[in-house]
């Protein structure tokens, strides 16, 4: 059977996964050189989970993540140099060096941030999806979180609301099997996270998180379901991080054998082999990408290294929005490019809210059934 994918699609996905891999390898290296500090969580091994879904949604759909958040913005199209500069704590970073590794934000590419509190971003995603429904827009929100976050109250509280109100949000649990150094099975009564969706009457499915195309298909399907107003979806991407929880973690809590076994599942050669087997690409295509990406990452490190630290006056900016103050558009600020696709929303006068969260008839019927009068 012929592959349903085009050469361009496969090479785009490959290029992005490869960029994330090389970017993260250099990140780890720069951390050991002391150029990057703080907590720094690498994405190596999980690239398929960021790249497949991103190709399955629209550029104007919303996305947000947890603290392992370098991969998703790169998949969305963020500037690698500016992400690296943020890791270096430089003024040219996406957040002017105020956010660091755990707080990458790129609103131009509709990436609404990395968050450092486990599970803290889960309700935010529901709120963004709520706003889409409120404005009658058919956007979906994709929200990443780790397996350990599924044990947070925020997860349960949000799934309940998202399902009850049929919010167009796709939750992608990146189950890399460890919450920091603790195996998920040791802390979870039900380690198969997707099963928890059933408790809230919502759709939940496991996906092979080491396969970019499977992630792509699952999210394409979930997005159509969300856009049709059928409610949220929980996907459990079964994946694996080849490195420790953070750069500082030697990951002695798992065996060499386990890691070696998982490395055989590397999503990057898997996609390359698929493309070659289906005669959609040849070795030289990948060699060209390898070289381009290496140069891109070299340039990113050079850009970060040569960038100045943020000006001290920056301490006093970006805490409170002053009257009439505009929002900062990072690429415009740093690279001088005109950023045109900044999100625009209808003003309160233009907006017509047509959505009925709890239609009056339904509410009255429910009252009647319960023997209540309004």
């Amino acid at each position: 059977m012929a592959s349903p994918y085009s050469k361009e699609q496969l090479l785009t996905m490959y290029r992005k996964m490869y960029l994330i891999r090389r970017f993260e390898e250099r990140t780890g290296q720069q951390y050991t050189l002391g150029k990057i500090a703080g907590f720094c969580h690498l994405y190596i091994g999980q690239e398929a989970v960021a790249v497949g879904p991103n190709e399955a949604i629209r550029p104007d759909d919303y996305m947000l993540s947890a603290y392992r958040d370098h991969g998703q913005p790169l998949a969305r199209g963020s500037d690698a140099g500016m992400v690296m500069a943020e890791l270096f704590g430089r003024g040219t970073g996406y957040s002017k060096g105020k956010g660091g590794s755990m707080h990458i934000f790129d609103i131009e590419h509709h990436f609404y941030g990395g968050y450092g509190i486990v599970g803290g971003q889960i309700p935010l995603a529901a709120g963004m999806a709520f706003a889409s429904r409120y404005r009658n827009e058919d956007r979906v929100t994709v929200c990443y979180f780790g397996d350990a976050a599924a044990n947070q109250g925020s997860f349960h509280e949000t799934l309940n609301m998202a399902s009850k109100w049929k919010l167009p949000v796709i939750y992608i649990c990146e189950n890399n099997r460890y919450g920091m150094g603790t195996a998920i099975a040791r802390t979870s009564a039900v380690p198969e996270i997707y099963k928890r969706a059933s408790a809230y009457g919502m759709r939940g499915e496991p996906v092979d998180g080491m396969d970019c195309l499977k992630m792509y298909e699952a999210v394409k399907d979930a997005a159509a379901y969300c856009r049709a107003g059928k409610g949220p979806v929980l996907l459990e991407a079964n994946t694996y991080r080849f490195r420790g929880h953070s750069v500082a973690d030697p990951a002695t809590y798992r065996s060499k054998q386990e890691v070696e076994e998982e490395r055989k599942n590397d999503p990057i050669p898997k996609l390359r082999d698929y493309a070659i087997k289906n005669k959609l690409a040849v070795d030289s295509d990948f060699e060209a990408i390898d070289e381009e990406v290496k140069a891109q990452v070299d340039a990113a490190v050079k850009f970060a290294d040569e960038s100045p630290e943020p000006a001290l006056e920056e301490l006093w900016r970006d805490t409170i929005v002053e009257e009439g103050e505009q929002d900062v558009r990072p690429r415009e600020r740093v690279l001088g490019v005109k950023v045109t696709n900044w999100p625009k929303y209808p003003s309160g006068q233009e907006l017509k809210v047509t959505w009925d969260l709890e239609p009056r008839e339904q509410a009255e019927q429910a009252d009647k059934k319960a023997g209540l009068s309004r």
């Binding site: 999100p343 969260l357 009056r360």
Partner: protein, 330 residues
Amino acid sequence: MTMPELMYREALNQALAEEMERDANVFLIGEEVGRYNGAFKVSQGLLDRFGSARIIDAPISELGFTGMSVGAAMVGLRPVVEMMTWNFAILAMDQIVNNAAKLRHMSGGQLRCPIVFRGPGGAGGRLSSQHSQALEANYAHFPGLKVIAPATPADAKGMLKAAIRDENPVIMFEGERLYALKGEVPEGEHVVPLGKADVKREGTDVTIITWSRMYYFCMEAAEQLAKEGISAEVLDLRTLRPLDEEAILASVRKTNRVVIVEEGWALAGVGASVVDLIQSKAFDDLDAPVGRVTGLDVNMSYAANLENATQPDAPKIIDAVKKVLYREGA
């Protein structure tokens, strides 16, 4: 021309209705705000007027619906989150302080979070420890938030309107025991700017600085002091973050003596910061050490006598004023 008299809760209701009418991005969410018409009836009639997409009955999941509202604000809606009481908002504190307060900073100025968190604070009547606490100091501690606590119905309306229009997260403490209190409230467009204190009573001998429900005890004390020939100025801070430093210092320079009255605990309270401000910027204008009247350093009891003894009242304020005036009997 006399203005209509409204209860504090009615003034809030009017502010909400007017702002929702003016801007369809504004919605109200909270426990019991819709079909129940609000636990304290602040949202009375709003569901019928604005529908279920804009007046939203939330599940009892404080962290969940607070965080959801923050997310909605990140993409341009203007949520008003009603906390049934600020005691329950403790469950939602992560979303308020770790997300709402920090989004603009962490994003380097890319994001804004125009959201209001409001609800009753301070002691209830005989509600014991978990429902009787003045928690504004907790929020005043965090950069990225604005914290307001209006005392009068007119301020309640004007400040809620300003809060809804503000581009930042605003924490609004209403007085649980103020909701039924009446006062003149201007009709229509009445907006009280945030960050501005208000001299509610002019005086020359001493400044009493306060906010929210304690304002009424301060006014009562000031009236009694007047009978003894002591002229007290009552400065209602109204906004606790940012503090109106100018108004505080101006009054200190006028009266040279200060008593700060707050319902919350003394240690790390808002009043402690006001004392710090005064001693660092107006030390030479002081004729006596700054006095403080606060809630006692204990949890609230259920027993009526213990409950009363825990809180500031007019006699305690009068004592404190006499002490800073070096009067006998203090």
